[in-house]
Symmetry: C2
Subunit: 344 residues, 2 copies
């Protein structure tokens, strides 16, 4: 299997992207797979020279442009046709790669993937599906930012696609689907969630109803469904809050010399907790609903995160995620029927 | 000044509500004020007998009913006319109290306050405005759950009301208003936020633009504006995440006996941090836009939280919060004009 990697995408590219690719091909568990590293050849080669690895397992594909994080994503395929991001996606379209991983702009990856790979037949809106770790195992949340204005049927599709992902990547035969809402009663929420609740109740045996944001870490659902506006805000808020609490904790510690003394003793526990919370472990966020595997990583990804995203990509391919989503959509067409005419 | 207190509202009522009232009247800083304690006389008197205090400063008003947390709030004034919550609000309507504090159902307090106190002229939707503490001072967020489906002009009113609250309660002459969004650019967001951004830009010099959820704790704004669906989810998610991290931290610590040894040394810092994060310190969340001071406390409020909410209520009255909101609304009527006809 060949996974295309956007060598120039991310805050720490190409150092960490190249290092991640090398760590991936060095891992014996993935010895059947290759990485197609896309980007400026001189920059990538300079990084690659730092490591010893099986050079047959990393192919270089040159790309002269780089997509900036703040670039308008909508027409990225036209404006940056020779960018590492667009070329890497093109490799998937042309069947020269089985999936693409990028730590570049999520918007640009989504736009390029949508334009070049198209949607799975029947899918209305691709969606971003990050995994949030928790002590009891964590959950995926869909959508986390691809769709800011949604219809109830879109939420149903998010549930379906995220369930397929959860089944294949986390090995859950029947993932519990929860609808993120401001109360657990079926009548709670805004117009969209009230309507979506009915559709989900009708269509999915494993729908557990509305879930409240304060309970998400209490193992109430494996798949949390919401619109991309709410999902994006929730994921970013969690990230900001964890970072803030860690800093606040450190500063508070400094004010208490006696507590500060205990820091060396605390290290094993802090390291363990940090490891569990680490987004680098989660291996990127898939863009679900596209007719090809496309995985976006956090902009601040290091080599470990890149390696784990490459692993996720291979698993999505091996587990036939695309086919699984396609057949799920086909099975539930009746749920989307009513709004078929109005859809683009 | 007289503040009505719903003696039966909250998970720990009447023990903690009564204790909170006693602690308030015992505090010399508030010796000009009285508490009107509303609820079942036998239950309240039994609690009051536990304390010594100036009995002139706590008046009892009997109420035979209690509003349950899961009760439908819409017609609460009709269904539970003799409840402690409804009677306490009625005291404000009848000018027998200057404000009301309840740790009961937010929905019921909102419905009863709206029905009995009415809105400030020009205000379309009352909104809930909690304070979220942070190391750099914290921020208020409005709306946190009163309005799940909003129009852009509602968001402008939330900004205006929360700014008035922030000016008076936190002493900020010109609080920075931020619009919660998924990106900082003016064009980012859903239909509602894009339109609201324009209105806010037009109407407020202290509008700092869109703010991202991950930056809220980095002192980017004093007032964060959003619809009640997003705001409610964000506040509850934060609460759940903090609780989860604390438990996860404890469990991780238990797995590392060496780290566990440091716990006694850590106590001063942990206590300090816990104190800073404590929602009991924040003194309840005002329902803004009502023609009377109405403050809701967390359902799990203890005596300290109740006392602080009583203090907040007196400050809202002293600082003329209602008049300040009323004049702010009048000044900005042009911003709401375009949708005047369609409003209820």
């Amino acid at each position: 299997m060949r996974i295309a990697l956007d060598g120039m995408g991310g805050d720490h590219a190409p150092q960490q992207t190249v290092k991640g690719a090398v760590e991936f091909v060095r891992d014996r568990a993935y010895s059947d797979h290759k990485v197609v590293l896309v980007g400026e050849p001189a920059a990538l080669e300079a990084e690659l020279r730092k490591y010893s690895y099986d050079s047959d397992r990393i192919d270089l594909v040159p790309a002269s442009q780089v997509v900036a994080m703040d670039e308008k994503p909508a027409r990225i395929v036209k404006t940056k046709p020779d960018s590492s991001l667009v070329k890497a996606v093109t490799l998937v379209r042309d069947k020269q790669a089985d999936g693409i991983v990028s730590a570049g702009s999520t918007g640009a990856l989504l736009a390029a993937s949508l334009f070049l790979l198209k949607r799975i037949p029947g899918v209305r809106r691709p969606a971003i599906c990050p995994y949030l770790p928790s002590e009891s195992g964590g959950f995926v949340i869909c959508d986390a930012g691809a769709n800011v204005d949604v219809r109830p049927s879109h939420l149903v599709q998010f549930a379906l696609m995220a369930s397929a992902y959860s089944q294949h990547l986390f090995g859950l035969p029947s993932p519990r689907i929860g609808l993120l809402n401001i109360g657990t009663e079926a009548t709670k929420g805004n117009e969209i969630t009230v309507a979506a609740h009915k559709l989900l109740r009708e269509g999915f045996e494993n729908f557990v109803g509305n879930v409240e944001a304060r309970d998400l870490f209490n193992d109430v659902a494996d798949v949390v469904v919401c619109d991309g506006f709410v999902g994006n805000i929730l994921v970013k808020f969690g990230e900001g809050l964890v970072r803030h609490l860690v800093n606040w904790g450190k500063d508070t510690l400094k004010k208490h010399p006696i507590s500060m003394l205990s820091l060396p003793l605390m290290r094993p526990a802090l390291k363990d907790l940090g490891h569990q919370l680490d987004h680098e472990e989660t291996g990127g966020w898939p863009l679900l609903g596209l007719n090809g595997i496309s995985i976006v990583c956090h902009g601040s990804s290091n080599a470990k995160a890149i390696k784990n995203a490459l692993i996720s990509a291979t698993r999505c391919v091996t587990e036939n995620l695309i086919e699984s989503i396609a057949s799920g959509i086909k099975e539930h067409l009746d749920l989307f029927k009513e709004t078929n005419e109005r859809e683009t």
